[in-house]
């Protein structure tokens, strides 16, 4: 057998791949569900915290900063494990899916809050003053003048963070979530063959590559001449 033949036999074994394709696909569905939930709630919560912070209420801001710094410093896996094994001790039980979702959403919330906040504060003070001097309220200025400018700066770091954290859905295997990696590794141990892992890798590519491309497109859409 040629060396390519041996490689294909081991890593791209068609029989194994066909057998476990349904498992991988169900893993893809779980990963997509998890990822969408994490992105929507995480970024939504992060933006909400950044907007609350812009109100400039001291005690509230301290609270926000503490929460954000906490979730930024803990490794996501630790958060998942804490929620999964910790919550039952206060008589709340969260499934592996919910634990993974909440944990990664909190982490994304923390990072996106910092990114949105940096974007908001980077908008020149003169923009606020010009808008307020024409009678726009605080909220109107934020929505119409400041956020559109802030978003332009936040898109690149935000997409990077979002992709990195969403890929963390793979950590869900630890708490028995049947997402792509979980399915792939159990298929691998059942079949004594690494081909399912290759399928898993392909699935991640198919999922995340379009996101990266879309992010680039959004970046150019939001650019304007200075």
């Amino acid at each position: 057998m040629s060396s390519w033949g041996r490689f294909a036999e081991t890593f791209l074994n068609t029989k194994v791949m066909l057998k476990y394709l349904p498992d991988i696909l169900s893993g893809v569905v779980v990963t997509i569900e998890l990822a969408l939930l994490i992105v929507v709630t995480g970024i939504g919560a992060g933006l909400t915290l950044a907007l609350l912070r812009s109100l400039g209420v001291r005690p509230l801001n301290w609270l926000i900063i503490v929460i954000v710094d906490l979730f930024r410093s803990l490794p996501p896996l630790v958060v998942i494990v804490l929620i999964y094994f910790g919550l039952p001790s206060v008589n709340i039980s969260a499934s592996g899916f919910v634990s993974t979702w909440l944990s990664l959403a909190f982490v994304l919330m923390a990072f996106s809050e910092e990114i949105f906040w940096a974007g908001i504060t980077s908008v020149a003070k003169g923009q606020w003053e010009a808008a307020r001097s024409t009678g726009l309220s605080f909220g109107q200025t934020l929505m119409n003048v400041v956020l559109p400018q802030a978003f332009r700066l936040t898109i690149p770091p935000l997409t990077n963070r979002t992709i990195a954290i969403t890929k963390g859905t793979a950590l869900g295997t630890v708490v028995a979530v049947t997402e792509i990696l979980g399915q792939a590794s159990s298929a691998m141990s059942n079949s004594y063959n690494p081909s399912p892992l290759m399928m898993g890798a392909a699935a991640y590519l198919v999922l995340f590559f379009p996101v990266v491309v879309a992010a680039r497109w959004v970046e150019t859409r939001f650019a304007w001449k200075r």
Binding site: A130, S133, G135, L136, Q140, N144, P148, W224, K225
Partner: protein
């Protein structure tokens, strides 16, 4: 007889330990153009910003067009529509076209429909000579054009008074004239104006009154000729001769 459009009395402003305005009294009559000059840090910008409450005065009173600006019951956003403000650094919204800049407050504050706002916005751009630049973004405009769009953004709201804070000092010398031209035509249309600027030539032939400020107080005021040629105070004389040397 109508009262003054701007009536500020006993204005004090502290920034922490820094006492920036030390009891300023300033009245600007309808259709009057008042120039404010003075050394850097004398409180000229702070004074202007107290008038539309971008800065909260520590004490004193500010009444603009009969509205008590410091009364907590005053709808400040509504009141601010009547007070145009033009900044040294233009502060146009970079993500909007010239027309977008001019129509934003018309739609959001004055409650005009998009069509009404655009008609008023185009008319305002026309007044500053930029009707053909309506769809350009600030990045595509020269400094002088940007400042004229900023003026259009204010006059579109039909303010009762316009405040200018060094409107030409960020401009290349060859672009200053176009902005002064617009200010002159505004004056001719009867706009009440309060201008912080060191454009002496413009002050000489357009201002009704020049106010000299130093260290947070008005040192003296009078017609341009009197302040520039025969100032009563030594500090005024020193300042005038210093800016004339440029």
């Amino acid at each position: 007889m109508n009262g003054p459009i701007v009536d500020a009395r006993g204005l004090h402003k502290h920034f922490g330990a820094l006492h920036v305005l030390k009891g300023v009294d300033l009245r600007v009559a309808e259709r009057e153009l008042v120039f404010v000059i003075g050394p850097s840090g004398s409180g000229k910008s702070t004074l202007l910003r107290c008038l539309n409450r971008l800065e909260e005065p520590s004490s004193g009173s500010v009444v603009v067009d009969g509205i008590d600006m410091l009364d907590p019951r005053t709808d400040i956003n509504h009141a601010r529509q009547r007070i145009g403000m033009v900044f040294q650094s233009f502060n146009l919204y970079p993500h909007m076209t010239a027309l977008g800049n001019v129509t934003l407050a018309l739609r959001k504050v004055a409650g005009k429909s998009r069509a009404q706002a655009e008609a008023l916005g185009r008319a305002a751009l026309e007044r500053v000579g930029l009707a053909d630049r309506a769809e350009h973004t600030p990045g595509q405009l020269s400094g002088g054009q940007q400042q004229r769009v900023a003026i259009a953004r204010s006059i579109a709201l039909e303010p009762r008074v316009m405040l200018f804070d060094e409107p030409t000092s960020a401009l290349d010398p060859e672009l200053v004239g176009s902005v002064l031209e617009v200010m002159r035509s505004l004056r001719e249309s009867g706009m009440t104006m309060l201008v912080v600027s060191h454009e002496m030539g413009f002050a000489r032939n357009a201002a009704d009154r020049v106010v000299f400020m130093d260290e947070g107080a008005i040192v003296e005021e009078g017609p341009p000729a009197a302040i520039f040629e025969t100032p009563a105070h030594e500090r005024t004389r020193a300042f005038i001769s210093q800016i004339q040397r440029h």
